[in-house]
């Protein structure tokens, strides 16, 4: 990490810290203040969008650990989120367990299912693993749809509001605080994870798993751990999603969603902590802007060909994914890092 001139580290703790300079701390505090006071000046709608972004960030961080840091391509993430969502739904609705129990169980359940479907990763990788995860997604959705006695089958299942102690998270603002807190915890967890032994093992596996095995990293253990952690996050995100929407239906978790998640982390930048956040914000805001501002605006002012509105969203997203991969394969995080270093090195940046 590049430090400005004049800063010296006198202890191991300060050397390894994430936030080094006073500017860092100041910026962090400013960001937190802005975020936590957001409910004061954002209406329900934008808080809702922010909540959705928060939930998506948690899931994307999980996918980033699995695919970005450990290199195990997984195109079935929506399925694992569904596992978490339905676990939380069933536990809080049918068994009437408290929200926190549902949250943790959702994470554990999704993690375990991810573990099971991740076992082939020990034998195959690349495209084969991708197909396995697609198959996993379809099987999970099929089971959810057909196990109607538990999951409500095709009709769906309603989910009560989240509550901790006696406090019920009914308003958008209260859900915002809940989701932001959990998101921040997850981000911190991830940032620290990659600095530990486990994280370095993941990165070694991603770069060349045979070499990693030769070096003494047990592939079996670490790959499955990556699946568990990645899907644990997906489960947590699923639980929060279930309580936020209030009614779960398997139609909400399609292959297109999984593809979108992959797109989010690639656009954001694989293998970085800030990457998923940037990618998620970019894609979700693009979705909202397209469907909420642009399409009705265009439809009411310009006489468009009939298929414009329906076709423009997938076209645009597909195009964005392809363009990012072709032109900027390291994603927005790379651009952000370039921007930071340009700022730091000015006027000598190039």
């Amino acid at each position: 990490m590049n430090l400005p001139a004049g800063i010296r580290n006198f202890s191991y703790a300060t050397d390894m810290a994430i936030f080094r300079t006073k500017t860092h701390w100041a910026l962090l505090l400013a960001l937190l203040v802005i975020l936590l006071t957001a409910p004061l000046y954002w209406g329900n709608y934008w808080l809702g969008v922010a909540n959705l972004i928060g939930i998506t960030v948690i899931a994307a961080i999980g996918l980033n650990i699995l695919t970005g840091y450990c290199g195990q391509l997984s195109i079935g993430h929506a399925g694992f989120i569904a596992v978490g969502a339905y676990t939380a739904a069933v536990l809080t609705n049918r068994l009437e367990l408290p929200f926190l129990v549902g949250l943790i169980s959702a994470g554990v359940a999704a993690g375990l299912i991810g573990l099971i479907f991740g076992i082939p990763s020990v034998r195959v990788k690349g495209f084969y693993l991708a197909i396995t995860t697609i198959a996993a997604q379809f099987i999970i959705i099929w089971v959810i749809n057909h196990w109607s006695s538990v999951t409500g089958g095709f009709t769906g299942i309603s989910v009560p509001l989240a509550s901790i102690g006696g406090f019920v998270f009914k308003s958008e603002a209260s859900q915002f605080y809940l989701i932001i807190t959990i998101t921040i915890i997850c981000i911190f967890f991830t940032k620290n994870l990659v600095r530990t032994r486990v994280g370095r093992a993941f990165i070694a596996i991603r770069d060349n798993d045979l070499a990693a095995e030769v070096m003494g990293i047990t592939l079996f253990r670490y790959k499955l751990l990556a699946f568990f952690i990645g899907c644990f996050f997906a489960g947590i995100a699923g639980s929060l999603l279930a309580h936020w929407i209030g009614f779960m239906n398997a139609e909400q978790f399609s292959l297109a969603e999984s593809i979108l998640y992959i797109g989010m982390i690639i656009i954001g930048g694989l293998g970085t902590t800030i990457g998923p956040i940037l990618g998620v914000v970019f894609i979700r805001l693009l979705q909202q802007v397209l469907t909420v501002q642009v399409v009705p605006f265009l439809e009411s002012t310009v006489a468009l060909p009939a298929g414009f509105a329906s076709g423009v969203t997938p076209m645009l997203f597909g195009l964005v994914i392809v363009l990012f991969l072709v032109l900027e394969p390291r994603g927005l995080a790379h651009r952000w890092a370039l921007f930071k270093s340009a700022y730091r090195l000015w006027p000598f940046s190039y």
């Binding site: 076992i119 992959i262 994914i321």
Partner: protein, 294 residues
């Protein structure tokens, strides 16, 4: 007993249709090592283009079909030139994801040009089904099966004996060595994508005459993945053999398990097969086991 025969016949013919799509996938993999996850969408857009030619422009068959083939060739060339060539040396994640993004884009284009998302081709085959013993099979399926076999034969011969075909196999094995030999790798990629698109177009026409033009063509593309995994990613023979196996598993499994378990078991069988194959024999029945070196 009647049902058994019907299930078997249906399974084999449906499986041959899957095999046809799988051939396109194997073709691209065999010659460039790229996994074409946009296969379903390529089938879709070819089917819609055929519809556009035959129904919207009202062209006769002998003019419409060659135009569709030309369209498929052009599409393959464009995809290779503008999307895959910039990514030639990139890791596999980028290649797979770019085909995913491409698939998404093609879906959008299809919805843009033909927003009513469901339609039918004019009837291309006679309606009367064929009777084999007590079982029936509609002529569309038989034609699809026959065309799959013919294409399989042609492709195998091409890859085995034709100079370009051998060059394609060499490229899939080791790109740098092929370049060192002076074979233009980019031309090979172009050609394989063009062929694969033509295969997808043929598959699209056959499948839409069976079930109409819907987004279901994309899902059948997904089922073709299970054929490819079972048969082996770089084996044409594997695709032709695994197709009917998957079709049989679907129909027999569906036919006999559904009354015992849940309705709809049939949809999940191909995916369970994928998982089982992954656990037992990841490279498929006829696939090549890759030996990796550090």
């Amino acid at each position: 007993m009647d049902e058994l025969l019907q299930f078997v016949i249906t399974g084999i013919t449906v499986g041959m249709v899957y095999a046809l799509i799988a051939l396109g996938f194997v073709l691209v993999w065999k010659s460039s090592g790229v996994a074409n996850l946009a296969l379903g969408q390529l089938v879709l857009i070819s089917a819609w283009f055929t519809y556009g030619m035959l129904v919207q422009a009202g062209l006769p068959l002998w003019l419409g079909f060659p135009l569709v083939v030309l369209f498929a060739l052009a599409l393959g060339w464009i995809i290779e030139r503008f999307i895959l060539r910039p990514l030639i040396a990139q890791p596999i994640l980028s290649l797979i994801t770019v085909t995913l993004g491409l698939g998404y884009f093609i879906e959008g284009v299809v919805t843009f040009i033909w927003p009513w998302s469901v339609d039918a081709l004019p009837r291309l085959f006679p309606r009367e089904p064929l009777h084999i013993g007590t079982a029936v099979v509609s002529q569309e399926y038989l034609w699809a099966a026959a065309i799959s076999l013919v294409l399989f034969g042609l492709l195998s011969l091409y890859f085995k004996y034709n100079k370009m075909g051998i060059a394609m196999r060499a490229t899939a094995d080791d790109q740098m060595a092929v370049q060192a030999c002076g074979i233009p790798v980019t031309k090979i990629f172009s050609r394989s994508w063009m062929f694969a698109c033509v295969l997808a177009a043929v598959g699209g026409i056959l499948m839409s005459s069976i079930g109409g033009i819907t987004f279901g063509l994309v899902e059948t593309g997904l089922k073709a993945f299970s054929v490819v995994i079972l048969g082996g990613l770089n084996s044409f023979l594997g695709a032709i053999v695994a197709g009917p196996i998957i079709g049989l598993a679907e129909n027999l499994g569906g036919g006999y398990l559904t009354p015992l378990t849940w309705p709809g078991v049939r949809e999940v069988i191909p995916f369970i097969i994928i998982i089982i194959v992954m656990f037992l024999k990841p490279y498929g029945l006829f696939g090549e086991v890759r030996i990796e070196r550090i």
